[in-house]
Symmetry: C2
Subunit: 468 residues, 2 copies
């Protein structure tokens, strides 16, 4: 758009000041707050927090040690507002909420949109939940309660109940007048939702179009071409996927009968997408999905123990394979030297395929349509790299140990291992996904078992047949 003409110029010092007053969280600031906390100087703590965004205050609270956190909360807990609570990660938020007097908590929650209230209440004990609900205004309480009635991780939990909806046969002028007279509108809204006489959404108009259209224009002529709504029971992960795929900014949520019950905005969808990514990445590495840097050490250790234990079982399983070939190893120790190479290459090739598969399943790029082709593709890739590394290792082992047949054995077993690693890396996640098991969580141990067992068995078995 062309640069607008500048009218009468008045320096608005307020704006500049406001812009500059929003400061970031640097180490200097953190130190200043910690110093004030140590001095027990509550007003100084509050003054240091004043120019920070709620997200930065939350970051501060998460990054300090739990001892510092207790001292900080003792001084300032009742001054934290609701936005800071909604920015905090779960574990830390619980700590903060425990430190808050109930009245302060209720006060903090009251300012929030219903979706943020729901997010906070979800994790509270029933008794605290009930207390906070009681202190809310009846409209808001009803909205929060009905949101909490939807299943966890559903669109119903993610939505805010505050919607801006008008009859679909209204004009631009009527909609604008309606908004002007309403004394209360949500903090964030980007569309006016059109509803039919049964309050079912039938389209939406962006505020930008509304603003640039003539007053007499029918809203129905301005609706966006791509309009989607979801049922409140839909999973939030699916909702986030739809936002990302169709570049949505907000999406109406309906109940079973198709009536509008709320709206989800893209910032919430973005947060869900981010969480899902984190979950997938950590799960694939065998880290408990709820773990965070601010958890207690013993909880973190416990969270990782289970995965390591599963890995131990598969490793012992692989060792049992090796144990079948003790005589061969005694006769030719070179086998013991080389066998970890085969297993390690298999493990890595399997992880490559598996990661591609898990990611493609998460983004819906791997569908019924292309599964067979993708499996064949991965197998082909595994066979190509299996041949390449078979050759390389044949040369290495040949020179190292001077045994031509050992070179042949390692070449063949490398091929078999990399091919089966690639195959299991794609097939197992697909199968788990079909069985409604999260492939990010469960694929790793299976793939590792396959690659280790195949690797050791192929190498030692071939050696036993061809070498000794």
């Amino acid at each position: 758009m062309a640069e607008p003409e500048h009218g009468a110029r008045q320096e608005t010092g307020v704006l500049e000041a406001e812009e500059q007053s929003r400061e970031g969280l640097d180490n200097e600031r953190i130190q200043a707050i910690l110093d004030a906390v140590e001095a027990g100087d509550a007003p100084a703590v509050i003054a240091e927090l004043e120019p920070l965004h709620a997200a930065d205050i939350a970051d501060f609270i998460e990054q300090i040690s739990s001892q510092q956190r207790r001292a900080f909360l003792a001084l300032s807990a009742d001054q934290l507002d609701g936005d800071v609570l909604s920015e905090l990660e779960e574990g830390v938020r619980e700590e903060v909420i425990e430190a808050l007097p109930r009245e302060a908590l209720a006060e903090a929650v009251r300012e929030l949109d219903t979706d943020d209230v729901v997010d906070i209440l979800e994790d509270l004990e029933d008794i605290d939940q009930a207390y906070i609900l009681e202190t809310m205004e009846s409209d808001d309480r009803a909205a929060v309660e009905s949101s909490l009635a939807w299943p966890e991780h559903s669109a119903g939990r993610l939505m805010q109940s505050e919607t801006v909806a008008v009859p679909q046969d209204w004009t631009v002028g009527a909609a604008i007048d309606f908004m002007r007279t309403e004394d209360w509108l949500p903090d964030q809204f980007y569309h006016v939702i059109l509803v039919d006489e049964r309050h079912r959404p039938s389209g939406y108009v962006t505020l930008g179009r509304l603003l640039s259209a003539r007053r007499a224009m029918a809203l129905s002529e301005l609706v966006e071409e791509s309009f989607l709504s979801v049922e409140a029971t839909e999973e939030e992960e699916e909702v986030a996927h739809l936002f990302n795929k169709y570049h949505l900014i907000s999406m109406p949520v309906v109940d079973q009968s198709g009536r509008l019950v709320g709206v989800i905005t893209i910032d919430d969808a973005m947060a869900v997408l981010d969480d899902e990514h984190e979950e997938d990445m950590l799960r694939m590495a065998g880290v408990n999905e709820e773990s965070s840097l601010s958890d207690r050490i013993i909880d973190t250790a416990k969270g990782r123990f289970l995965w390591l234990f599963i890995n131990l079982i598969t490793a012992i399983f692989a060792s049992l394979v090796i144990a079948q070939f003790e005589d061969e190893i005694s006769a030719l120790v070179a086998l013991a030297v080389l066998m970890p190479i085969v297993a390690s290459m298999g493990g890595n090739a399997g992880t490559q395929s598996m990661t591609v598969a898990v990611r493609a399943l998460a983004t819906r790029e791997l569908t019924g349509q292309n599964t067979r082709r993708v499996i064949w593709r991965e197998l082909a890739v595994g066979m190509i790299n299996g041949s390449a590394f078979g050759l390389i290792m044949a040369v290495v082992a040949g020179f190292w140990f001077g045994l031509p047949m050992l070179a042949v054995v390692i070449a063949l077993s490398m091929f078999a291992t990399l091919a089966s690693a690639a195959l299991s890396g794609i097939v197992l996640p697909v199968m788990l996904d079909k069985m409604k098991v999260d492939p990010a969580l469960a694929s790793g141990p299976f793939v590792t078992t396959v690659t280790d067992v195949v690797g050791f068995f192929a190498f030692l078995g071939l050696a036993s047949v061809m070498l000794l």
Copy 2:
């Protein structure tokens, strides 16, 4: 908001029809298109595509085989509009663009917002770029060219040049009138940006607030509390992080002198966030970041070869450690049976720490403030699980081989391996990040080398000293 009163009710069949006409991409639809392609029936293909969203058409093109794609493009390439092009992933997009007559390409590009045009032009050969630029209107061309002048992956490339900006001393009424008279506004905008007399942004007002305020109200009284702008040279990854952290919907982009040059909207930031996640996840698994399910097999194999080759080097390095203990292994083959367990557990524990570290670095949760504490934390977790699995394996090995000293050896080496795995899993990514090397890409091989070498050396070395 309360349910609005419904005025005169008129059934608007148009809306319902439009809503229903937007259909998803299911297997049936895919088959129908493919059948039409096989029959060489271009009008039928176009008719099948008609009700689909551009994102779904792009999905279809990505999911079919390259042979089917060629046949499809031969029939329909000139009918694809710009939106479909911008939805396609890079590799496939190149194929489609090659199949497009230049005029059709220029036509398709003309409808797009400048940020999408930039996204497409970035990947084209200079000669095609020049051709398309020539066919654009001079305003748009200037905007696209100035955007392309910013570095790759910068805010300047991500932004759209179309902004809605008004002088900061205007009133609500003036802003609304201005928008009414402008005959052209961007497809998507959510804020009116306030600028000073030098066109530097000083705040923004959401359209929702603008609509609900009185006409005489000064815009400066309605500005959002949290206002951020970025320089055009800022990295897009950082921009995406800011959107996610501060729940922004749009963000003005400025040049070195602080003048407004464009705006980035959250949907683009969400796409960047998604790409960054994908990159991190794939890089950690040693998959070439640009790889996709629709790449050619040989390219995929090449992309993965490098990582496997690096892994081979580290695996050979670990084997050299084993080779130092050939005599010990000959004397006691149980060592060869048990040693992969130690290395495997170390590798997994290292991956756990490393994934947590890479993720925390990406989300800026790991900062100068808490690095030391987090390192200590990981080490403690490694020592706790090292003790636990040391005990478990002592029992297992004791029963299996009946050698008490072997049990002691595996317990001690398990402890040493898991502790050093946890430590290197956190320290190496942090160091790489400090050295400005992407920790997601480079941590894996280092951590694996450490855990393998420490694992084999601790186990075989201790065995050599204590057992034989």
